[in-house]
């Protein structure tokens, strides 16, 4: 593969595996997470959360709790509602979507186990927890709706009477020729897939310090969050504080994965408490409450069908998706997006002409679900790729061959896929060819056949995928959500020749600040050691959307590039004035102004900085050095810039125990221009592991009453290193033409493809037994049942 032309004229860092500057600080334990911050007069809040799935709150008696040492106040929903408005999380472009008003603290009725109802504020967290034990809340259980399957039955309890039923959103899509395609097909496969509810399990829990200063009426919120400007806007609107009086600071964030891009009821409650108390209030979710109050994701049941003809040509897909999202759509992104994505993405890599989809998004009395790493992709990919394998098996075709035959050709772009999504440029053919080489596919198949004879059952699973990145305003903005699709970067030359880069997209531990430093250094022409990056502060950075939908590199990175190039030009203009040379003869390379013709260094950047800042008197009249530049970027050419890739998994199934051993995982990924191969590879590996978690281990298990049974780190099985396979990663680079940088997102594709690859590998291993498992997480028990052993 020929390397891409460089993104800037003198490229030193973009495309290199440079270590990220903030890694050492974090590794040495010198990060500043919210819980590290102690403010004067700060108090701590704990929330009394509903112990049951659905209850009427009859009486709250806080008299004993108030007597406990250190207690500052006890506040209920009604009192809270006086200063914070309720919200309804819908988007207008999701036609017909509905949800109910939600309050920071439940009033009268709690709708899921874990919903915050009463706030207790004390001088320390321990004192607040001590007082919590003396809070007396009388409640009466209401009928709870737990199963999605019965949510729309006429005799099921309706969670919000005003809405009429439990349907949040429904959508259908039909290309009109689906029935005909199925009728004329040589092979049809039908599968029902189940996807367990799971959650993000960030190492650092959700946490916040809200600090309201009544003297200047300013609110400062330290928050472990992905979208500081979005939160600034929401606090402003819900509490009626002018936006200009609110500062949201997100310094180090210990993992987010989408869990921290939502506005939680307790976020608003904590802010409201600090307004009431006129002092800083800290909230740090503990692990137990994280399990019932952090968003969950991915509870879907999808019935899918696929049609193909004898030659292996895929003709049509059809799906029916039912998903349960909890009692409220989550603010402000809504809980209908995940299902909507499934509809958009199923069949995404392929050339079939017919597609029908039906989606029902229903309410239930469980923790609300919302966007979590991969958003809909792991489901769409598992459904698509599971169906492709199922029909290949009916046709007696090899799984790799049927994909090679059916993927959209690499030269067919730009094009509109059958579901209506617009694809700018993908590389399925190259990726499939590459992974086949990486894994030595024919040799693996031969080995598999040989081992089967000896009673060893290995399986090979392949999953092609597309992934939505670099979103335009089509994602949220057009639906009325005040979520910024554009982002900005400001770069300032310091007198010493260093630069300071301020970006709206923040760091969550994935290395975003590192790639911004690389891009800025190359764009301006300075060494990376001279670059300082500042993110996560609404008082400081340009306005922007933050970190989500794999947009940091593609959107934030392009803004940095453009700001850097503009600053470079301004610096050269200053040099031209000082040196009395024409600007076109000069360049800024390696921290110095050089003469292009000879490459001779004419002036170190520090000298230029000194003159510009301290001796402006020596510059000609009428000339001003503009050494701080801001540029913004929004991707407006497509709704989304899709990436693609392929993953493969090799597993061994112990058919006596149902245990699965992950032997190896391969990834070929096309995220456009790779800015830092090391960081992209690690994003892939981490995301693959999260995908494996969903495929084999993670599930929020509820009992019949709607109580979470495994809400702790012992019983909720997060994937651990010991079970993980080696993950080999390779790249194909098809840069997007919508930006100069050409980068697409890379943070979620691993999670999108891994569950499908693992599931297909397990079913491939079980092939000799005519057994299949389509319910994730795939537990030993499910495999034993499929084998008829239990």
């Amino acid at each position: 593969m020929k390397p891409l032309p460089p993104a800037t004229e003198h490229s030193r860092y973009i495309g290199q595996s440079v270590a990220r500057p903030n890694a050492l600080r974090l590794a040495e334990g010198r990060g500043t997470y919210v819980d590290d911050i102690e403010l004067p007069r700060m108090v701590h809040v704990v929330y009394w959360r509903s112990p049951v799935a659905h209850a009427r709150i009859l009486k709250i008696d806080a008299s004993f709790a108030r007597m406990m040492p250190g207690v500052v106040t006890v506040v209920d929903g009604a009192e809270m509602a006086k200063i914070c408005k309720p919200w309804v999380a819908t988007l207008t472009h999701l036609a017909g979507m509905k949800s109910a008003p939600q309050y920071p603290l439940a009033i009268d009725r709690a709708c899921w186990q874990g919903e915050p109802v009463v706030a207790i504020v004390a001088n320390t967290r321990v004192e607040a927890e001590d007082a919590l034990q003396y809070l007396v809340v009388e409640w009466e259980a209401l009928p709870a709706l737990i199963e999605t399957e019965t949510a729309l039955d006429p005799d099921s309890p309706v969670i919000h009477g005003d809405l009429g039923d439990n349907l949040c959103f429904t959508r259908s899509l039909d290309t009109a020729g689906v029935d005909e395609a199925f009728a004329n097909a040589d092979a049809v496969a039908e599968v029902t897939f189940q996807f367990g509810r799971h959650t993000g399990v960030t190492l650092e829990p959700r946490c916040q310090i809200s600090d309201y200063n009544p003297s200047d009426k300013r609110l400062t919120v330290h928050h472990s969050q992905q979208a500081p400007h979005m939160m600034q806007d929401l606090y402003s609107r819900q509490l009626g504080i002018p936006e200009s009086h609110i500062r949201v600071i997100c310094k180090d964030v210990g993992g987010s994965f989408g869990i921290k891009v939502h506005a939680y009821p307790d976020d608003f409650a904590t802010v409201a408490l600090s307004v009431m108390l006129e002092r800083p209030v800290k909230f740090v979710a503990d692990r137990l409450e994280s399990f019932t109050s952090d968003i969950h994701a991915r509870q879907h049941r999808v019935t899918g069908r696929i049609a193909a003809n004898k030659t292996g040509e895929i003709l049509a897909f059809e799906i029916d998706d039912l998903t349960g999202i909890g009692p409220y759509s989550m603010f402000p992104r809504t809980s209908a997006i995940e299902g909507n994505q499934v509809v958009n993405l199923v069949g995404g890599p392929y050339r079939h002409q017919q597609y029908r989809a039906k989606l029902n998004v229903v309410f239930q009395n469980k923790t609300p679900t919302c966007q979590y790493r991969g958003v809909g992709h792991p489901i769409a990919c598992a459904v698509t790729e599971g169906l492709v394998d199922a029909v290949a098996q009916k046709l007696g075709m090899d799984p790799l061959a049927i994909r090679q035959q059916n993927v959209i050709r690499d030269d067919a772009y730009p094009m509109t896929a059958t579901s209506g999504i617009k694809l700018e440029g993908l590389s399925h053919q190259q990726c499939l060819d590459k992974i086949a080489l990486m894994m030595d596919y024919p040799a693996l198949r031969a080995e598999q056949a040989e081992l089967r004879k000896r009673g060893i059952y290995r399986g090979i699973g392949i999953a092609a995928l597309i992934e939505l990145t670099n979103p335009s305003a089509a994602f949220y903005g057009v639906g009325g959500a005040r979520i910024s699709a554009q982002d900005g970067a400001t770069i300032r030359l310091e007198p010493t020749g260093a630069i300071t880069v301020m970006v709206g997209v923040g760091e969550q531990g994935q290395g975003t600040e590192g790639i911004f430093a690389q891009i800025a250094a190359d764009a301006v022409g300075v060494s990376m050691t001279s670059v300082r990056v500042v993110t996560g502060d609404t008082d400081v950075t340009p306005y922007g959307g933050g970190t989500w939908a794999s947009r940091g590199a593609g959107i934030g990175g392009e803004a940095v590039l453009q700001a850097g190039l503009a600053l470079q030009k301004n610096i050269v203009d200053v040099a031209s004035v000082i040196l009395k040379r024409h600007a076109s003869e000069l360049a800024l390379v390696n921290d110095a102004i050089i003469e292009i013709a000879t490459s001779h260094s004419l002036m170190p950047l520090a000298e230029l900085g000194r003159i510009a800042y301290f001796r402006p008197d020596s510059l000609p009249a009428g000339f001003t050095a503009e050494l701080m530049v801001t540029r913004h970027y929004a991707q407006r050419d497509y709704p989304f810039i899709f990436t693609n890739g392929v993953q493969a998994s090799l597993v061994e199934v112990d058919v006596d125990t149902g245990f699965v051993k992950l032997l190896k995982h391969w990834v070929v990924e096309d995220c456009g221009r790779v800015i830092n191969p090391m960081l992209v590879d690690e994003q892939m590996r981490g995301a693959v592991v999260q995908g494996i978690g969903g495929a084999l281990f993670e599930e929020c298990l509820y009992d019949d009453a709607g109580l979470l049974q495994n809400g702790n780190m012992a019983d909720y099985l997060a994937p651990m290193a010991a079970e993980m396979p080696d993950i080999e990663v390779a790249h194909v680079e098809t840069p997007t033409k919508t930006s100069q940088l050409g980068a697409k997102g890379a943070g979620e594709a691993g999670t999108a493809g891994a569950p499908a690859a693992i599931m297909n590998a397990i079913n491939d291993a079980l092939y000799p037994f005519n057994a299949t498992v389509y319910s994730q997480p795939i537990t030993p028990q499910k495999i034993l049942r499929a084998l008829g052993k239990v």
């Binding site: 321990v126 034990q133 006596d656 125990t657 245990f659 099985l717 010991a722 537990t779 030993p780 034993l784």
Partner: protein, 288 residues
């Protein structure tokens, strides 16, 4: 969550523990490695008013051979057992089981006494204690008594220890010539409490096992001896048929208690697989 406030004492002598237990009674809790206890305090599942830390008491440490018994002090950690040459020689089942207990960081703190006292039905040490026919040595203000493993664990998280009594050590019969033992378990993630596990011990002569004790963890409220399977295997040369009979007997003897992701049928099936594999391995070794 944060633990509620408690007092903390750290006696240096065993003799000082008993008056403290007398004074505080139910309000006191012994603190060994803390790997179980501290989590229950942090979750406010237990609210003792005083913790008596046993870690400074030298009498509770040490691994020694006392006559024909291997004695391991209550405060000996899982890791110390895992690497002890004396244990490897005289109670080789223990180092086979040790790597399955949690993760190294937890094994560095967790203790034999704490694990035996807590009596988790899926824990490795109580299972091994039963398989090896060990003895728990309990001491109180009024004296010392020896409790046989068969009598020690009486129900879920419930032992024969009396109020005021603490475990000071466990003793295991030192392995003699012909000693046989094996350990295996199935857990979805390394270090988790297993779905099921099996500790086997006895005497081996050629292809025949005698004095056999087969103990399962994770099946019920306590570690369970598979007496019927033992009776079938004990004293008979191992054959495929005999092993199948033992597996059938096992399934007839117990009905397991399911957990969140493995129901009773799955657990019984997996127990059968563990038993069969352990005995087949033994048979293959002998015929090889």
């Amino acid at each position: 969550m944060k633990a509620p406030a408690f007092d903390y004492v750290k006696p240096r002598l065993l003799a000082d523990v008993f008056p403290l237990l007398q004074t505080y009674g139910d309000e006191a809790r012994l603190l060994a490695g803390g790997q179980t206890l501290l989590a229950t305090l942090n979750m406010r599942l237990s609210e003792p008013s005083v913790l008596i830390d046993l870690s400074a008491i030298a009498e509770l440490r040490g691994i020694t051979l006392v006559g024909s018994m291997l004695r391991i002090g209550a405060m000996v950690t899982h890791s110390e057992i895992e690497v002890s040459a004396l244990v490897a020689q005289h109670a080789p089942l223990l180092p086979l089981a040790a790597p399955h207990i949690a993760h190294r960081a937890i094994r560095n703190l967790g203790t034999l006494g704490g694990s035996i006292a807590y009596a988790d039905p899926a824990a490795e040490w109580p299972t091994c204690l039963l398989a090896l026919d060990g003895v728990v040595i309990a001491k109180s203000a009024t004296g010392e008594r020896r409790i046989r493993s068969d009598d020690f664990i009486v129900d879920l998280y419930t032992t024969a220890l009396l109020p005021g009594e603490i475990i000071i050590a466990c003793e295991f019969p030192a392995a003699s010539a012909g000693h046989w033992c094996d350990f295996d378990e199935l857990s979805r993630r390394h270090g988790d409490y297993a779905i099921v596990g099996l500790a086997g011990a006895g005497q081996r002569s050629e292809n025949t096992l005698t004095d056999l004790r087969l103990v399962f963890l994770g099946l019920g409220a306590t570690p369970l001896r598979a007496s019927r399977a033992e009776a079938i295997i004990d004293g008979q040369p191992l054959t495929n048929g005999l092993i199948d009979q033992a597996v059938s007997a096992l399934k007839a003897e117990f009905s397991a208690v399911g957990d969140l992701t493995s129901d009773a049928a799955t657990k019984m099936h997996l127990s059968g697989v563990l038993l069969k594999r352990m005995l087949m391995k033994q048979m293959r070794l002998k015929s090889a």
